[in-house]
């Protein structure tokens, strides 16, 4: 169904240079947004804090983020809503990976017991590390983490052996592996915990639901185009600076998820984790944080 928005507004998307954004970029470049009658402006941002600052200041309307981030933003009043998956892990495609430093003597998962894993605290990275290790039978005291929020710092520490292990997102985990780190565990073993989201400010959804629908319809079509012929988009992926330079040649365009949103169970699990960590002291309602009604 073609959406026909009531008024013309420009959706401003704060976009990090990460793989998850490829469908949006494709939709923009191939005129899909125009086709669905939405105007989109892509605002480049350097890092997650800057992205969140733009959203908080109302200077951007949409972004790619994670469920924990959505929950924290909505802790008092609903501010943003997740409207669609951006990327998901599957049983054969990892989003995140725990790697061990070269020479740290870690061969398998069981060696991670009691080892401090470098993570970015209070993000999906910490959540996923915890859940993956629990799933591997780790007891509470055996899971250790140390906070190193910036990916380059984590990579450097891993490379130097300062950190014995670290959780890294793709494609950086591939890069670390190329540089000698040893992959230990990834989210293909439990893909249900691992996904990123397209989120909108709630105000935009409330005022212009049709526009958002149009936006998601365009993304859907872009996703289909990518999945149909991934290699066609590999130059775009490199041009858009979505993969580290050393991987520019070898990295493959991943498969992107079709329309969908996190389930109430996935939401409840993440919420339980955030509460258990003390990051959230309130209860949140699924429908405040996830809005499944805008999908095409």
């Amino acid at each position: 169904t073609l959406a026909t928005p009531a008024e013309k507004i420009t959706i401003r998307v704060a976009l990090l240079p990460i793989l998850d954004g490829l469908p949006i970029v494709v939709a923009q470049q191939e005129g899909l947004f125009k086709k669905y009658n939405v105007q989109v402006e892509l605002i480049p941002v350097g890092s997650a804090p800057e992205r969140d600052q733009l959203i908080a200041a109302g200077q951007a309307d949409a972004m790619i983020n994670e469920l924990t981030s959505v929950m924290f933003l909505n802790k008092e009043t609903p501010q943003v809503q997740a409207v669609r998956f951006a990327r998901t892990a599957t049983t054969d495609q990892a989003l995140f990976r725990i790697l061990a430093a070269k020479g740290a003597g870690i061969q398998g998962v069981s060696d991670l017991k009691g080892i401090a894993v470098g993570v970015s605290q209070a993000t999906v990275i910490e959540y996923l590390t915890q859940r993956l290790l629990e799933q591997q039978g780790f007891q509470a005291g055996e899971i250790q983490m140390v906070s190193v929020p910036k990916i380059p710092d984590r990579m450097a520490l891993l490379a130097s052996g300062e950190l014995k292990a670290a959780m890294l997102p793709e494609p950086f985990s591939t890069l670390a592996e190329q540089q000698g780190a040893i992959p230990i565990l990834d989210d293909t073993v439990a893909p249900e915990y691992s996904f990123s989201l397209i989120s909108f400010r709630k105000a935009v959804i409330d005022q212009h639901p049709q526009v958002v629908k149009g936006f998601l319809a365009a993304v859907e079509e872009a996703t289909q185009r990518i999945n149909a012929d991934p290699q066609k988009y590999s130059t775009l992926m490199v041009d858009q600076k979505m993969v580290p330079a050393p991987l520019a040649e070898s990295f493959r365009v991943p498969t992107y998820p079709l329309k969908g949103v996190p389930t109430a169970d996935q939401f409840a699990d993440a919420l339980a984790w955030a509460q258990s960590k003390g990051y959230l002291k309130v209860d949140l309602v699924y429908s405040d944080c996830v809005n499944p009604n805008l999908l095409p």
Partner: protein, 247 residues
């Protein structure tokens, strides 16, 4: 700095803050009253005190380190036209480089402990102090130097009896600037491999948890940390630079 003025300044700031908060009415700038409540809770029940102490130690250590190395270096450069001509291109090349990009390299050499955090702050402060003290020492009245040389002073004694005391006010200024900068830089330096410190606290609450009242509580704590150190410097000035105050 009288208590009354301090109170006044605090009040004015709070009013201003309240005003802005009322204008924008957004969670990213909670009103001071809410922040006050959270601040109190975080101090009494939370761990803000621990964060505060961790940061205090890092700021003091790095500032001392920077002053103790950069001030003498600045004095030496300010004293010797030749050395200054030799080193100033180096300074001018290094100063504008954002030291943050060296964090990974520093981590490589110094590990993830406190030392690397202190080093990062130190690197940022060093050049700032160096340039200030050097410029100040260069501006010394030449007749002072001549008269003391005529009393038998060589380079070392000139350094000790003229350049050093003459630069004390500049060093104190540098100290003031450094405190401001060092505290602000915590926000960068306390991001890696630590769970203590106001920088960490602000980042976690502001950028990961979006708990803005708690973040601002951290900001207020930082401001107070700086203020306390400023009091110290003003005390030192009263002691060391009596001549500037009296005359």
């Amino acid at each position: 700095m009288s208590r009354r003025n301090l109170l006044l300044a605090g009040l004015a700031l709070l009013l201003f803050w309240q005003g802005i908060a009322m204008i924008i009415r957004q969670p990213i700038l909670p009103p001071p009253s809410r922040v006050g409540v959270v601040l109190w809770e975080e101090i009494t029940r939370g761990a803000l005190g621990v964060h505060f102490l961790a940061s205090l130690w890092r700021v003091v250590a790095s500032t001392l380190l920077a002053i103790l190395t950069a001030a003498p270096a600045g004095l030496v450069l300010g004293q010797s036209k030749r050395l200054n001509a030799l080193f100033s291109p180096l300074i001018y090349l290094l100063y504008p480089i954002p030291k943050v990009v060296f964090v990974p390299v520093v981590l490589l050499f110094l590990g993830i402990g406190d030392l690397s955090k202190i080093t990062v702050i130190f690197l940022i402060l060093f050049f700032q102090i160096l340039v200030l003290v050097r410029d100040q020492a260069m501006g010394l009245r030449p007749e002072l130097v001549l008269s003391v040389r005529s009393l038998g002073a060589g380079r070392l004694a000139l350094f000790r009896f003229v350049y050093l005391p003459a630069s004390l006010p500049a060093v104190l200024t540098a100290l003031r600037q450094s405190i401001g900068t060092a505290v602000a830089v915590l926000y960068v330096a306390e991001l890696f491999a630590t769970q203590k410190g106001l920088g960490y606290y602000i980042y976690l609450n502001g950028s990961a948890l979006f708990n803005y009242p708690a973040m601002y509580a951290g900001v207020v704590a930082m401001s107070l940390l700086g203020l306390g150190l400023y009091f110290l410097v003003d005390g030192l000035e009263k002691r060391w630079c009596r001549w500037q105050i009296v005359s």
